[in-house]
Symmetry: C2
Subunit: 95 residues, 2 copies
C-alpha cells in the first residue's frame, strides 16, 4: 500500500535539486543555490549525497579564475526520481 520512499529523494532540498536538474540537464552550483534558496553549506552537503548515491555527476573546474561546480543528472537519478514520484502517488491520492 504505502511503499518505502527513497530516503535520498525524500528530502526537500535534494528533491528540488533533482527536479531542477531533470529540467535543465546541467546547472552550476550558484544557479541551483539561487533557485532552491538553499545555503551554500547545505547545498554542498546535499549535492555530495546525491553524487554518492549516483544520482548526479559533479564536474569541478574554473571559470573566470573562480571555482565552478557543474551538476548533471544521471540515468540512475532520473529513474530514481520517476520511481519516487510513482511511489509517492499512493500517499497523495488517498482512496
Amino acid at each position: 500500500m504505502f511503499k518505502e520512499l527513497d530516503p535520498i529523494l525524500h528530502s526537500q532540498l535534494r528533491l528540488a535539486v533533482v527536479s531542477l536538474l531533470i529540467s535543465v540537464e546541467e546547472a552550476e552550483f550558484t544557479y541551483i543555490k539561487e533557485k532552491t534558496q538553499a545555503t551554500s553549506g547545505n547545498l554542498s552537503v546535499q549535492l555530495d549525497k546525491l553524487k554518492q548515491a549516483g544520482y548526479i555527476e559533479v564536474q569541478k573546474s574554473f571559470k573566470n579564475n573562480y571555482p565552478l561546480t557543474v551538476c548533471k543528472i544521471t540515468k540512475q537519478g532520473i529513474d530514481a526520481f520517476d520511481k519516487y514520484v510513482s511511489d509517492l502517488k499512493a500517499y497523495l491520492n488517498p482512496k
Copy 2:
C-alpha cells in the same frame, strides 16, 4: 519556485497516516499500524505530533477491556494536506 514543504507532513509515516485518515475519516491505532507497517513506538510518536499540530484528533477509550486509540482527521489536517500536495507539485513536475 520551490515552496517550503510543511515539515509536519514531509515525513513518510505522518503523510501516510494523514493520507489514510482522509480516506477513512476514522481509524484505530492498530489499523493504522497495520496499513502503514510502522512500529508502535514510531506511530505513537508521530500520532502525537499530528495531534499537537492540530491535524488529527485522538480519542482514547476501552474496547473489550483493552485500551483503544481512535484517530480522526481535522479540517486543519485536510487543509494542510491539500496545501502540501499542491506545493509538492512544483517538485514533481519539473518544467
